[in-house]
Subunit: 309 residues, 2 copies
Amino acid sequence: MNGLVALDWGTSSLRAFRFDGAGRIVETRARAWGIRQLPEGGFDAALAEITAGWPALPRLACGMVGSRGGWREMPYLDLPADTAQLGRALGRLRAADGRDVHLVPGLRDPRGPDVMRGEETQLLGALALRPALAAASCFILPGTHSKWATVRDGTVTGFRTLMTGELYALLQRHSILGGEAPATDDAEAFARGAAAARDSGAAGALGRLFSARALMLDGALAPAAVPDYLSGLLIGEEFRAALADGLARRDTPLQLIGEAALCARYRRAAALFGIELPPPIEDAAARGLWQLAAQGGLVQPAHEATPAC
Amino acid sequence: MNGLVALDWGTSSLRAFRFDGAGRIVETRARAWGIRQLPEGGFDAALAEITAGWPALPRLACGMVGSRGGWREMPYLDLPADTAQLGRALGRLRAADGRDVHLVPGLRDPRGPDVMRGEETQLLGALALRPALAAASCFILPGTHSKWATVRDGTVTGFRTLMTGELYALLQRHSILGGEAPATDDAEAFARGAAAARDSGAAGALGRLFSARALMLDGALAPAAVPDYLSGLLIGEEFRAALADGLARRDTPLQLIGEAALCARYRRAAALFGIELPPPIEDAAARGLWQLAAQGGLVQPAHEATPAC
């Protein structure tokens, strides 16, 4: 039987995709078993449970499962890197069930230095889903640690990590800016924060964080609007900085990869910079895992599919 | 008997200065009774204890004691503002002992908007101690919420708050950058962080925070050096941003106000920007409180001192 079990295994969640031999997803399962919240029995137990009842197919995992605190640490592959290079660099470990789990290495940008684990697979998946973007594009992957990555000729040429999601959570939970007021979805406050970041010029938005409190004390921002203002300020700062240093360019397509609700915020912020972003690419990780499995010889590419032996 | 009891009453500490009629500090007392850590009996009890045994002199307080969460909220005075204006704007409350406590209002920069409470008194004290700086200067007051303030012709003309100290503490305690390693005083790591901020150009250092982790994973930064690298990055970013938007100018004197150990970090960061900062002005709050008491008519200016009646 041909096919693949693909695992997107991050810090806070685990998703498993069962592919058939033609590269079609037959079934998807998700658990809250990130590498820091494993069930009793650890990685082996989590893998056994999430693949229960599935046939014994090759298994390939990406994400923090390959980090220092993961199942096995995989070295990073230095940029520039493409699908073929990553496919050749897959590692493996032997699970308790006696069969291998293959692991995707992370990428390292030596110019930062900067590192990613999991996003490289999403990038390659996005390129497979939108081949027109392979020539020259910039991808935005929002999240706890947002990534902005440039692609040229199908190759990842550079990227940067922004701690936007983590900073937002820290400021909300632990700082003087955090209120008792729960975050609403206040589009006007969000836009105001993003515009403040845009208009901060070369000084940047780090020096505007306190404005969330000053505006509130001033009566110019409702306490309940502070979280959305802050979200706008931090996401807007991503665009300001990326445009300021040429990581993003107005003459190069910008493409979001990620979950729709968070990406919607990025699209609204982009509009304030005069940039119209298309809808995000979702579920790019699964497609990237299939691509890498094919490159790494774990599965036959769909167009060469042979009968199961 | 002439003289003054001056109180510098902030979020985390209370200091009391007893002045004689000639404006000399006769005694200083300090307690950990910030407005959020008051003893049993609250503000009245704290005041009674810290001034126990002192004569019944006029009392003047500055700092967060005049904030919304303080003893009594004082309105902010809008910029531009000088010692005379602040002296005319003193407020008062009646303490449980039946006598007044006068309060210094905070300042508000309507262009931010931005606000300060307590630092305005330090600024005026510093100008009294260093009259040569009154013509044109920029003051840096490092802390949980650092302030950069411009002064022209003895008047505070603008300022900005940077959440450097709070951000550093948040990142150390709660973020992925925080390690188990205690902060050392690693001057090389600090300088490396400050240089990274300087070299971040118009993109700014917010996008370099993650470099603290990437360098550590890379083996290029010892885990124990991460806190000082982060401190350098955040303090360096203050200088980069202030120079980028003209808040600080290379042709205008820059002067630190504050505690020596923290100010030493700012002097080291400034050197990486080619700026030689003189030693900080310490205990500026006490001098500012005396100046404001004189302007507000609570005490006779020293050169007009009359015998106690």
